[in-house]
């Protein structure tokens, strides 16, 4: 179980890296940098830390869980394929009028000069996260 979880985390990191390349190609270098550093760097580190707290399960249990998962969810790919075919057949998306894609305002100027309330909100979320770590992980002093 642990090896497969680690493989999933590596997959997540790879996907985020490819996504950041796509975002860079779409002319948003700041967003690409954030995507790379946070989603392809910080998040996998947090996941691997969490996985290090888990234990490997027995091989027989692993086989049983795989069988159970297969019997429970075998209809899911079928439903997805049928729904996709139905959408392709019946969904008509009209010609969309998208707004012009000029770089309306540098992201950094927007972030530091205009969106002060959001900045305050981000700081409060970070503080709340810090409290979460303290409350949930601190062992009481006996």
């Amino acid at each position: 179980m642990t090896t497969r979880l680690l493989r999933s985390v590596v997959g997540l990191a790879l996907t985020s890296a490819i996504l950041s390349i796509i975002i860079f190609q779409l002319n948003s270098p700041v967003a690409a940098v954030f995507e790379l550093s946070v989603c392809a760097g910080l998040i996998p580190v947090i996941f691997i830390t969490a996985i290090s707290f888990t234990q490997r399960i027995a091989k027989s249990q692993l086989q049983e869980r795989r069988r159970e998962r297969l019997t429970r969810f075998f209809l899911l790919p079928v439903i997805v394929i049928i729904a996709g075919l139905a959408l392709l057949r019946w969904l008509k998306i009209p010609a969309l009028v998208l707004p012009s894609a000029d770089g309306a305002g540098d992201v950094r100027l927007l972030f530091w000069n205009v969106r002060h309330l959001d900045l305050l909100g981000q700081i409060v979320v970070l503080l709340a996260g810090a409290f979460a770590v303290v409350v949930l992980f601190k062992e009481p002093r006996k």
């Binding site: 998306i93 009209p94 969309l96 009028v97 998208l98 707004p99 309306a104 000069n113 205009v114 969106r115 002060h116 309330l117 959001d118 305050l120 909100g121 981000q122 700081i123 409060v124 979320v125 503080l127 709340a128 996260g129 409290f131 979460a132 303290v134 409350v135 949930l136 009481p140």
Partner: protein, 475 residues
């Protein structure tokens, strides 16, 4: 002046964590003063005694905030419920370290809620909803027992689904309208109402908000989170958090941003009615006191959404008044549940009985709360339900009005059965030593009961100063 509602709790939060001597007691008293001041100030603003636009502080920070009668009612409710929770937590949480953590997280939640009701920008509203959500996840699991962690986990997962839906919707709205300010979005959305992307964005956001409010069929996390949380946290969660981050944001967006067109009205009225019916029927079968209160919350939130979906100014006023009343009487019921849990040791109604003789104040205030919930005159719940039903009737929605009236009777039924099982009846063996709960719980119950009675008897004043101004938001 408005930014003080956000910046003072934020600065208090930082100040509480500086290791002064006796900072725990200082934190407690300062929080109490702050929440009481917020409630009083909101009342003074609505009477018109103090002008909110006075005292403009220096313009270093640009906060786009706006105040209108609906936000004032929300600030009043947040102040009262936070104050009550603080008093109750002083008794219910015994360890000093946990008390300090609780007060810090309460301050985070209040900062988030104040900013949610004052912000005039869609993305800021979203960010502060997340602030409140993170603090409530931690608050539910503050005592780290198995059931509470499970309830918090369920709440987290459903909240993350809601977050994904809302973020996608915000992205679509920025794509089609160009900005996140309420007025810009409102004109952009109404100009492009035929665009399928706009319809998708509105639908996704509504689904996200229904998950956050606990509207059927997205209510799955609510009974587990409310009943498994520690008692003090249940008071806060049921009394104000679910309502501000779910129902208030729904009201604000539907009125000021999406516009109350007929399809949104139908969705809201249908979802509200299903919540009323499901919540009431599920509450009839419960054996756990707090779980029954959770299903009752789902039912009452259905009333608020039904009033909102009516589409008329009177319906909106009724919904807002029912919001305030629900904050008062649901908090009161959860304070009583906390008292029962602390004194009798259990909330399972089959093991309780005859507590009214041993806990007279708790018994009396719970009778007041249940009569108000069921809509019995002259308590406040009667007036708010009357306004909602009148609004439905005058808008021609007779079937919805009939359902609303019928399920008021069902509400009375399950609450009377609760009252008989917990407070009246024969005293169960093992409960002879039960005494009334301490001052920290009886003072909040008395305060909330007094507000419920006063808002009912002083209804003309409340209607004139607090509720009728809300009608004019809907143009």
């Amino acid at each position: 002046m408005l930014s003080l509602f956000i910046s003072i709790p934020f600065l208090s939060l930082i100040a509480f964590n500086i290791p002064w001597k006796r900072s725990g007691q200082l934190a407690f008293f300062w929080s109490g003063v702050l929440f009481l001041a917020q409630a009083v100030l909101a009342l003074l603003f609505s009477i018109g005694a103090v002008d909110p636009s006075a005292m403009q502080l220096s313009r270093i920070f640009i906060f786009k905030l706006s105040l209108d009668p609906l936000s004032l009612l929300m600030l009043l409710s947040i102040g009262i419920v936070a104050f009550v929770t603080l008093l109750a937590a002083n008794i219910l949480i015994s360890e000093k370290g946990q008390k300090g953590n609780f007060i810090n997280l309460l301050m985070v939640a209040v900062t988030g809620m104040n900013a949610t009701v004052l912000a005039a920008d869609l993305f800021s509203v979203y960010v502060f909803m997340e602030v409140v959500a993170v603090s409530s996840f931690v608050l539910i699991s503050i005592q780290k027992d198995r059931l509470a962690l499970e309830g918090a986990f369920k709440y987290m997962i459903m909240s993350w689904v809601a977050t994904a839906l809302m973020l996608t919707s915000i992205a679509l709205i920025i794509l089609t309208c160009g900005d996140t300010d309420f007025s810009v979005i409102a004109s952009g959305l109404s100009a492009q109402s035929g665009n399928p992307l706009v319809k998708l964005a509105i639908g996704l956001f509504l689904c996200g908000l229904f998950i956050k409010s606990g509207v059927v069929p997205f209510h799955g996390w609510l009974p587990d989170a409310y009943s498994a949380a520690p008692s003090a946290v249940s008071i806060l969660l049921a009394g104000i958090i679910t309502k501000v981050t779910g129902v208030y944001v729904l009201m604000r967006l539907v009125i000021s941003v999406f516009g109350l067109n007929s399809s949104i009205q139908n969705i809201l009225m249908f979802a509200g009615t299903v919540s009323i019916i499901f919540g009431a029927l599920a509450a009839l079968t419960q054996h756990d006191f707090k779980r029954m209160l959770a299903y009752s919350s789902i039912s009452q939130i259905g009333y608020i959404i039904l009033g909102l979906g009516c589409g008329t100014p009177l319906g909106l006023a009724g919904a807002a008044f029912h919001f305030f009343n629900h904050a008062m009487f649901k908090s009161l019921l959860f304070v009583n549940a906390a008292a029962v849990e602390k004194q009798a040791g259990t909330v399972h109604m089959d093991n309780l009985g005859g507590l009214a003789a041993k806990m007279p104040l708790t018994g009396t205030t719970s009778v007041i709360a249940l009569l108000s919930t069921a809509g019995i005159p002259p308590l406040s719940g009667f007036w708010s339900k009357l306004i909602i039903i009148t609004a439905l009737w005058s808008a021609g929605k007779f079937a919805y009005a009939y359902i609303a009236i019928t399920f008021s009777v069902v509400t009375l039924a399950y609450f009377l059965s609760m009252q008989r099982r917990v407070f009246f009846g024969k005293l169960q063996t093992g409960l002879e030593a039960v005494k009334e709960a301490g001052l920290g719980i009886t003072i909040p119950s008395a305060l909330l009961a007094a507000i419920t009675v006063a808002a009912g008897i002083g209804f003309p004043w409340v209607l004139d100063k607090l509720i009728l101004p809300i009608q004019f938001i809907l143009k």
